[in-house]
Amino acid sequence: MLRRVLYIDLTSGESWVEEKHDLFEEWLGGTGVATQLLLKEAPPGVDPMSPDAPIIFSIGPLSTMFPAMTKTVAQFKSPLTGELGECYAGGRLAMAMRFAGHESIVIKGRAERPCYISIENDRVKIRDATSIWGIGAARVGVILRDVEKGVGRRSIIRIGPAGERLVRYASVIVDTYRHFGRLGLGAVFGSKNLKAIVISGTEDVAIPDSKRYREVYNRIYRMVVQTDAMEKYHDLGTPINVNVLNQLKGLPTRNFQSTSFAEAENISGERLAEEFLFRRVSCAHCPIGCIHIAMLKTAFTPHHEFEVRRVSYDYEPIYSLGSNLGVTTAEGVLELIDTCERLGLDAMSTGVVLSWATEAYEKDLITPQETLGVPFQWNNVKGYIKAMENIVAAPNEFYAALARGVEFAASRYGGMDFAMALGGNEVSGYHTGPASIVGQLVGVRHSHLDNAGYSIDQTAAKKQLDPSSMVDQIIREDDSRSVFNSLVGCLFARGVYTDENIIDALGSIGITKSREELSELGRRIFLEKYRFKTREGFDLSKARIPRRFFETVSTLGRIDPETVERMIALYKERRGWA
């Protein structure tokens, strides 16, 4: 059992380790522990990009011990929304933290000049990074792999130019193709002059009862690889949803002006798998292999000379940079995804900002003078790439506004009705019905993954579900995901980790929890997150819902604003907030 928190102060250059048995005992790990550390370390009302604002990483008790327990949670105050910042990434980070012997890491302060942190077991070095400042994220990975030790078991996380230049939805790239994408962790890194973290370790984990551990492991492993619970993730991957949602009229198209896209087939999971997919890979200790990598080949002369790029794709970026921008070719979508990767921008927020800007440009709310001649037009891939580069470079007030997110941009230029954000966070790719809207609005990080409202809507499309039972399901997911995210498992494997399997897995490594204890814990973690949200100014009663949601037909038909209002009222009542 680790139970160790590593503290790093970039201002003073000091670092130290604290053992916190009670903290992990009470809050399990992952998001449960991170929330407590955030509440304690972030001064109320702190500027998200000030040296006093902390960055927290946490793994959980099952990390690296069981299949698909692959994620690390990051918490911070979001520079995009001004309240809870939380995101998850896979890759090798959780394993590297585990073997380095740190269950959580807290980073505060600001380095005098660009730096990166190198962690090897208990040895922490803050090293000069001025020579790699300004360099793209992929290249920085290559450079640090050369400079640092720990081949095969280390993790390298870093920001691109967007993070350095404080774009409020800049991402942190984890190893290769994985990200802390949402809510602007990249900008918080940038504000601390922190370019990268390299972490590795040699500790290994002894198990008290290794026979029991093996038994539980075998059962869970078998479920992960053999049941069809995981089928869709290792075959086509999440992009399977492109065709599914298009048929269900739930695929946001051209900034949610429509929910079916005539060219969906071209950018579907099927098309990508058949024509572009060349490899599937896994996060460390996950047998699923859901990371789909496409080979994007572009000729740069007529004589069969090609540029080859390897681009990882998922449903969300295909929605945000594809259908939502009216992009009709897979090549176009892959190029836009690759641009996000290069600049270190969150693909979802970027797509939604660009789709708002395209509509605003059509409606003459913004002018060619403001866009510096860049045409904001559906399907204009070249134009969008230039726009993304400008968002990072911020050559004028307009692009600087885009770099602050869609909510801010619309507050300056108008078009709030079609500025597609909930709780200040650009929305994800589902216009399935009221549960998706309410779910993202009430969710702790305003993400579709907080409580999977989109999936509740899809159930409702098959069998009658009244608003009241939708609300109950949202609450159930809010709470149970708080437990799962404390472990910190990959949500794709959520179906495998039933209460029973979680209890047995914990039991096999010496942590006893009952079903009741877990469910109570989930509820408490959720409420603790709301404590932070409210403290930092989030008010559910004042949360804005873009009118566009009520104008465009969803999977469940046109959504009545009153239904949504009623669901929010019910939600508050059942949370005891009414």
Partner: protein, 152 residues
């Protein structure tokens, strides 16, 4: 997907009349770099979750976008590791299998240098980690990359 039946460690292979078995990388290009094999080897043979104690190694060159390289013991006919060991910790049985006696190993690392494949390493306690060709990793590879074959 491959059968995921937990492999039974079978260290007594040498005593049985049947042919010697060895681990083979049958389909390296199918590897997804999940490390399930490494965790299986350390879990089943040492009761730990560890990469250092695994006898099979998955190396990624230049991150996971590069081709994974799978390093396993080749069960050599004339094992260099055995000849290199000054303590007699590694010995070759009649049927050709190499047996490792941990207690005799003093961590000099000569076997590591002798095996050019890189199939032997030292764990954090300084003891050699040597493949037993038990097949545990085979049972946990989700992509049929590995096989246990009989050696004539």
């Amino acid at each position: 997907m491959a059968g995921a039946v937990a492999g039974k460690p079978n260290v007594e292979v040498a005593k049985k009349p049947r042919k010697r078995r060895r681990l083979k990388v049958a389909h390296p290009e199918r590897c997804i770099g999940c490390l399930s094999c490494m965790f299986a080897c350390s879990r089943i043979n040492t009761g730990r979750a560890s990469l250092e104690r695994s006898a099979i190694r998955i190396k990624t060159q230049g991150g996971i976008e590069g081709d994974p390289i799978i390093v396993v013991c080749h069960a050599c006919e004339d094992p260099a590791c055995v000849r290199a060991c000054p303590k007699g910790a590694l010995s070759r049985k009649e049927d050709g299998s190499v047996v490792f006696e941990k207690d005799l190993c003093d961590g000099c690392g000569k076997c590591v240098d002798a095996c050019l494949i890189g199939a032997i390493s030292l764990d954090s306690e300084g003891k050699a980690v040597k493949c037993k060709h038990c097949g545990a990793c085979v049972a946990f590879c989700p992509h049929d990359v590995l096989k246990l074959i009989e050696v004539d």
